[in-house]
Symmetry: C2
Subunit: 143 residues, 2 copies
DNA sequence: GGTTGCCCTGGAGTTAGGTCGAGGGTTTAT
DNA sequence: ATAAACCCTCGACCTAACTCCAGGGCAACC
């Protein structure tokens, strides 16, 4: 099956503009043009595009994705390099997940304060303390 | 304890420029100025800044953080709104984590292909197929 | 053969989140 | 009383990743 850019955009859920942008950025060297100079996406191309969106969705930068795709274009000889890239990216993703989770815990802590029955009381107290801290240092009270 | 902007930057691990930028964006209405017009951060201010970085680290936009901080400035009466915001943000974080995890699974699938002993063989085959798909449709072979 | 609906390129514009520099005031130590 | 090390504002600049537009080509239908 061959897809023109609009159909490819619908299949990948990317916008037509984004697809052209990706091509301009060197992410789609595998997409051929037909006699009219139109991009002609094959099913294989769409599979590769799915890989690209996976990498993008997990935070890989376009410049890195371009490097990965360059390895793909190079053929089977670049398997070790691709593997190394994906492994490194995998670690980066997991590290980021951990970082987010740590921050989420802090948020959950705040949430537990807010849902406590003494929430208003505690916050009133904290506020008074913050106010005092300013006053004690001759600072204007912003509250 | 009072911290000038440089010390506050070191404590929060944000840059001085970023702190000033946040102030400009209305994220730090609680930070007072001393007689010289210098920002004077209290320990309480730094604790609030930590909350801000938590929200930022988990992907909350500055405009939303500003909204949250506005609620904080409003005092204890806004506890329900703050709680609602954090709960919604919590859900957004979890959803994003899930999205990333789903994409990670795809990457792991690719990795498993690459680490198979038949990797080169499989990729060679896939490549030949992709090539054939182009040729069969009268397209130039980009490989 | 004209209208419609695709497609193309090049380049400008946008948004978020900073980052930097010029020009100038303050504080502290020598 | 001057140098060093801070601090301030304002506004320009930057990067990533799009997004939009003008000007123009191709293809199908009425």
């Amino acid at each position: 099956m061959i897809y023109m850019i609009k159909a490819a955009a619908e299949k990948t859920r990317l916008s037509v503009d984004t697809l052209r942008f990706y091509d301009k950025e060197g992410l789609l060297p595998f997409v051929s043009r037909n006699q009219s100079g139109y991009r002609a996406f094959t099913d294989g191309d769409l599979r590769l595009l799915k890989t690209i969106t996976c990498l993008k969705n997990t935070g890989m930068k376009i410049s890195e994705i371009r490097r990965y795709i360059a390895y793909v274009m190079q053929g089977p000889s670049s398997v070790p390099q691709r593997q190394a890239m994906l492994l490194a990216h995998r670690e980066a993703i997991l590290a980021e997940q951990q970082r987010v989770l740590a921050n989420l815990k802090e948020i959950d802590l705040k949430l537990s304060v807010y849902s406590s029955p003494e929430a208003v009381q505690m916050i009133t107290l904290e506020r008074a303390y913050a106010k005092a801290e300013k006053v004690a240092n001759g600072l204007p009270d912003p509250y």
